[in-house]
Amino acid sequence: MNLNAIRAIKRPLTADEITGWASGDAWLAGGTWLFSEPQPSLETLIDLEQLGWPALALSDGGLDIAATCSIATLYGFNPPVQWGAAALIKECANCLLASFKIWNAATVGGNICMSLPAGAMISLTVALEATYELWQRDGTQREIPALDFVTGNHANVLKPGELLRSIHIPARSLSKRFALRHASLTKLGRSAALIVGTQTGGTGDMLLTITAATPRPVQIAFPAVPTSIELRRAIDAAIPGDGYFADPHGSAPYKHHLTYHFAEQIRQELAQPAVLA
């Protein structure tokens, strides 16, 4: 929709052209969230498009995704065969409420910075133990684990003007095996729970990532695949009974219930020896 309060668009060629930061400023990536709701408090959009960040960079160390990489581009990524967990990219994208047309504009960084509980790019990058590179307006940079970025429903650690530059997914986690479960109240709707388990090749460990059911991602590491009881205890220890997220996409008790159910399914799956494809 028209954002009628916007007075100016800035289109910098480099991020350091933007020096100051006013309360009405906002970074514009794909625009698919910004333009989906009235934004009466915003006055200036700062377009990231012309920064020209390469969307995807592949190295031995892993995959670097520019925050401005569109979801469509990431979806089309053709991973090296040894990166079994790269299949999570497509699976997570398919958990998005948004259709493929939105993916053509929406960015990975935008989905993360919107920081909704059901943000599937958050699920993806947290599950794959990514780190985010953040650029502050004073020129300093910091890196934080994906897990720590989202702090609540629609809330994150970004300071005013701070920019998510890129997402680094280590090769180590891309080489893991994984199991994903999700459910929504409607067919292909917004996730009520999106839960991913990963396991390092050749080990019996398990890393469980719970998203959508909780206001922010929750991750539980098990050195070995737990028993059913251990799993449930660990979930209870990590998420208090009132720690589930109620919204029109599912009641809190339902999300609580799904979390147990899917975590248990994932546990059982990862307890089985890996089948070589």
Binding site: M1, I9, G31, S36, L45, I102, N104, S251
Partner: protein, 899 residues
């Protein structure tokens, strides 16, 4: 900046925050629609350098220097894109408002995406079709039949506006550029109940471009109802155009008119309103208590918040229950939902040089809207013209006058054209909804299943205003009880004011709500008695020869023009036992079950209703049909042409039609409650027959052959052994001053009845609560099918809407009375993935009352679907889910507690 739009270069500077959708429309690309303006519906889909995007989410500046393709640019050199042709062949639209975006999406799909339509089409919502015809189009299936003279009636003929719909040339309400038009925006109440103490407009007036601000002090202090009925007394006059008391979150507080929408919006934000908060009540039962805050002090204050109560009894339910072997009693409830017609409400008003007022609007009842405007502004009817062009869906939501009045007010005050288009959010918070009803049903029966008593108690939450509150309540207590023969019936209902967004007319109109309750209860009772649900219904259902009555003893004008309920039950039972449909998913957590429900519908409303039609033979030998009724995707334009063509032994294509225009067409009460067929259709039939007589009479005089030897044959007339073109006949008539014109009116009495039976087989996952519909089948007794494709399309659409009501849709209201989910992303109307393909069967009946044997075709199919689903769920789980919607989180909740 330069833009290349559909091959044309445009040089322009968009506003900083402008989205591509409005930018394109500013330059006349009206094929780019708005269904939500928030990325959820896909109606605005265009291609950017060949890639489909939602233009409402695309910053306009991003499209600079790129190639933009809209629906209007898809055809090359006048040759339709294959997808446009496919949509025409399958008639993959009803109102057509979603079509441009649907085609732009469908035409962009590669082979892989075409394999996965649930995902590929999840960003495109259609409220009308139920997606079946869209699926047909994407599979290259053709549904239209040839237009053969004399055989128009009964043929699957295409919508005459199809070509303009698939090319984006069809003009919906807001698809015109009115020069010099001002834009109207409304400030809406943040409080559920408050008195407006003061409104300071200083800051708002200072916004550049603001041309006027109107509050309750500026409007005629005249009470009315926004609901449109022929009989204005059936709705309470409880509304002021703008009031100094607001009674729900979202009620209009003030209107701002400005040069741009942006200025009007900015000024709304700057209006400084002082409210005195009043106590509010949201629950209708609480609202009936003596100490509840009272919403309306006008009218019959002694009744407090009960706007209307309706009671009746035939026989004695007391005796009936005393003689019962089994009694079942339970309370069932249905949720508040929104029509979600893809085109939001909107109107444009202007005055011409002579000072006459014109209102272009999106209404199901333009003639009643005109009357209401005349009443409000004390204008003479001849000074007001109200009309519709294309309307993007109604479903009862546009049986209201809620956008015309403020445009007219502002036009009269300022003298300039004024337009106002609702946002999608306003549809949820400031329009009308289906009445939420809670129904207690008590049934008694003999051991063999024979009903001995039916007792129903309904509380309807009419929200802050009572439009349609009485009529929907009466409907709720009518047909669903009439459907069963039982000596002892009692019903009692209350429509109650509360401080939430008002109820209104909605396809199914009250009967849907109690059909859910009674059909669920019938199932429960059958289970208690160990009787098969089909047998239970056959044993008790109304049959020809029965005295049709609900709970009122006085005779009614409803009678059996035909009867096919027995056939419908057979058809559904056969289908469910046929083995067709999908297999239940594997796994021990999946349980499956079947369910059935029936519904009966009086064809047409009990209130007065009238329609007029005019027909003329034109100089070129074609016909002109003018009909007052509205077409909003219900298909009446198509079927009216067919009726006329059939009477005149010609092709539908020979009949040019205009409709819904208070200047150009005869009076019509409006299109709702199935009147498009049963009243307007009757008017068309009568006018066409009158014109036929007129033509034959003249031809006989002209040729000397007796009328009995004259007949029409497509575009010619045959008189004895002489054959001449209608063109020549017209010339001959014209030469001697003969006028080939006729006008007839139709009224709605007597009324016939239609029946619909729905069957469902579903599977439910015990742990996640997910429901999968494995088979959905409906059998309809709707008389002769004037257009089988269209009848099926209406039923498909009604089923999809019912599936939304049953499984996914629910307007959630917070503790302060505000709607929590006023956007499609949080209020889920069915998408492609949600709607299974249904089997649709028709009883073989020909109605003695309806026009050319037809009965209600667009409305009745919605009613039996929700209880059929709930009954199947009960059958699968052994647990009765008595409250809509049946979402997985509620299902899980009950299964885990009952386990």
């Amino acid at each position: 900046m330069t833009y290349l739009v559909d091959g044309k270069q445009i040089s322009a500077e968009p506003h900083a925050g402008q989205c591509l959708r409005t930018f394109l429309r500013d330059f006349g690309s009206f094929g780019v629609k708005k269904g939500c303006d928030g990325g959820d519906c896909g109606a605005c889909t265009v291609w950017l350098d060949g890639v489909p995007v939602h233009s409402c989410l695309t910053p306009a500046f991003r499209a600079a220097g790129r190639e933009v393709t809209t629906i209007a640019g898809l055809a090359v050199d006048g040759v339709l894109h294959p997808m446009q042709q496919a949509f025409l062949d399958a008639q993959a639209f009803q109102c057509g408002f979603c079509t441009a975006g649907m085609i732009m999406t469908a035409a962009s799909l590669d082979a892989e995406r075409l394999q996965d339509l649930p995902h590929s089409l999840k960003g495109n919502l259609c409220r009308c079709t139920g997606y079946r015809s869209i699926n047909d189009a994407l599979h290259g299936r053709t549904s239209v039949e040839a237009d053969v003279a004399g055989r128009a009636c009964g043929a699957s003929l295409p919508n005459p506006f199809g070509p303009s719909i698939v090319t984006g040339q069809a003009h919906y309400t807001m698809d015109v550029a009115v020069e010099g038009a001002l834009h109207l925006k409304v400030l809406r109440s943040p409080h559920a109940h408050a008195r407006i103490v003061a409104i300071d407009r200083q800051k708002a007036l200072a916004v550049p471009g603001v041309a006027g601000i109107f509050t309750w002090e500026d409007v005629p202090r005249r009470l009315y109802s926004t609901a449109t009925h022929e009989d204005h007394l059936v709705d309470p006059d409880d509304t002021y155009m703008l009031d100094n008391v607001v009674r729900f979150v979202g009620q209009r507080v003030a209107a701002v008119v400005a040069e741009t929408e942006a200025a009007a919006e900015a000024a709304c934000h700057l209006l400084d309103v002082t409210y005195e908060i009043l106590p509010a009540v949201f629950d209708p039962v609480t609202a009936m208590e003596p100490d509840a805050p009272v919403l309306h002090d006008k009218g019959d204050a002694a009744r407090g918040n009960i706007y209307v109560d309706i009671k009746g009894e035939v026989g004695s339910v007391l005796e009936g229950f005393a003689g019962a072997d089994a009694v079942h009693e339970m309370t069932y409830s249905t949720s508040r939902v929104q029509h979600s017609h893809l085109e939001t409400h909107g109107s444009i008003a202007w005055k011409d040089e002579t000072g006459r007022l014109h209102v272009r609007t999106s209404s199901q009842a333009p003639f009643i809207a005109k009357q209401k405007l005349c009443h409000l502004f004390q204008m003479s009817p001849r000074d007001v013209h109200v009309f519709c062009e294309r309307i993007g869906g109604g479903f009862g939501g546009k049986q209201e006058m809620i956008s015309e009045d403020l445009c007219v007010l502002a036009t009269l005050k300022i003298g300039r054209p004024v337009q106002w288009e609702f946002t999608r959010e306003e549809q949820f918070i400031g329009a009308t909804t289906r009445h939420q009803m809670t129904t207690r049903v008590k049934l008694g029966a003999k051991r063999d299943g024979t009903l001995t008593a039916i007792d129903v108690h309904v509380v309807s939450n009419t929200g802050a205003y009572g439009g349609h509150g009485g009529e929907t309540l009466a409907a709720a207590l009518g047909n669903p009880l009439t459907a069963y023969r039982c000596k002892n019936k009692r019903a009692e209902g209350y429509a109650v004011y509360t401080n939430i967004v008002p109820g209104g007319g909605f396809r199914g109109y009250g009967a849907s709500q109690t059909t859910f309750a009674i059909e669920s209860a019938m199932d429960d009772l059958a289970r208690t008695l160990g009787i098969d649900p089909f047998a239970m219904r056959r044993l008790n259902m109304v049959r020809p020869g029965d005295w049709m009555e609900s709970v009122w003893k006085d005779p009614s004008d409803v009678t059996f023009g035909s009867y096919g309920l027995d056939q419908c039950l057979d058809l559904v039972e056969d289908a469910l036992s046929s083995g067709r449909g999908a297999e239940p998913p594997a796994g021990e957590n999946w349980q499956s079950g079947t369910g059935v429900a029936l519904a009966m519908l009086d064809c047409g409303p009990p209130t007065e209703h009238r329609s007029g039609a005019e027909m003329a033979l034109l100089p070129d030998g074609r016909y002109h049909l003018a009909i007052g009724s509205t077409e909003m995707g219900n298909g009446s334009v198509t079927s009216h042409r067919q009726i006329a063509a059939s009477v005149l032994s010609t092709r539908a294509d020979q009949v040019a039609i205009i409709n819904a225009d208070t200047d150009l067409t005869p009076y019509d009460t409006g299109t709702f409650a199935s009147t498009g067929t049963v009243v307007a259709g009757r008017a068309v039939d009568a006018a066409a027959n009158a014109l036929l007589d007129n033509i034959l009479d003249f031809a006989s005089r002209h040729t000397g052959a007796p009328t009995s030897e004259c007949h029409l044959d497509d575009d010619e007339i045959v008189c004895g052994n002489r054959r001449m073109s209608l063109q020549d006949l017209w010339k001959a008539g014209h030469a001697v001053g003969h006028r080939f014109e006729a006008k007839r009116k139709a009224y709605l009495s007597p009324r016939t009845v239609a029946f619909n039976v729905h069957g469902i087989r579903l599977a439910v996952e015990k742990v996640t609560g997910e429901i999968r519909i494995l088979q959905s089948v409906q059998a309809a007794d709707i008389g002769r099918l004037i257009n089988p494709m269209q009848c099926r399309g209406q039923i498909d659409g009604a089923i999809a809407m019912a599936i939304g009501w049953t499984l996914t849709e629910n307007m959630m209201i917070d503790d302060h009375g505000a709607v929590i989910n006023p956007a499609f992303r949080n209020y889920r109307i069915p998408a492609f993935a949600d709607v299974p393909e249904s089997e649709v069967h028709f009883a073989d009946t020909y109605d003695a009352i309806g026009p050319l044997g037809a009965k209600s075709q667009g409305e009745s199919a919605i009613n039996p679907v929700a209880p059929a689903i709930a009954n199947a769920l009960a059958n699968a789980t052994g647990v009765r889910f008595a409250h809509l919607p049946l979402t997985p989180d509620r299902i899980f909740d009950r299964l885990s507690h009952d386990a």
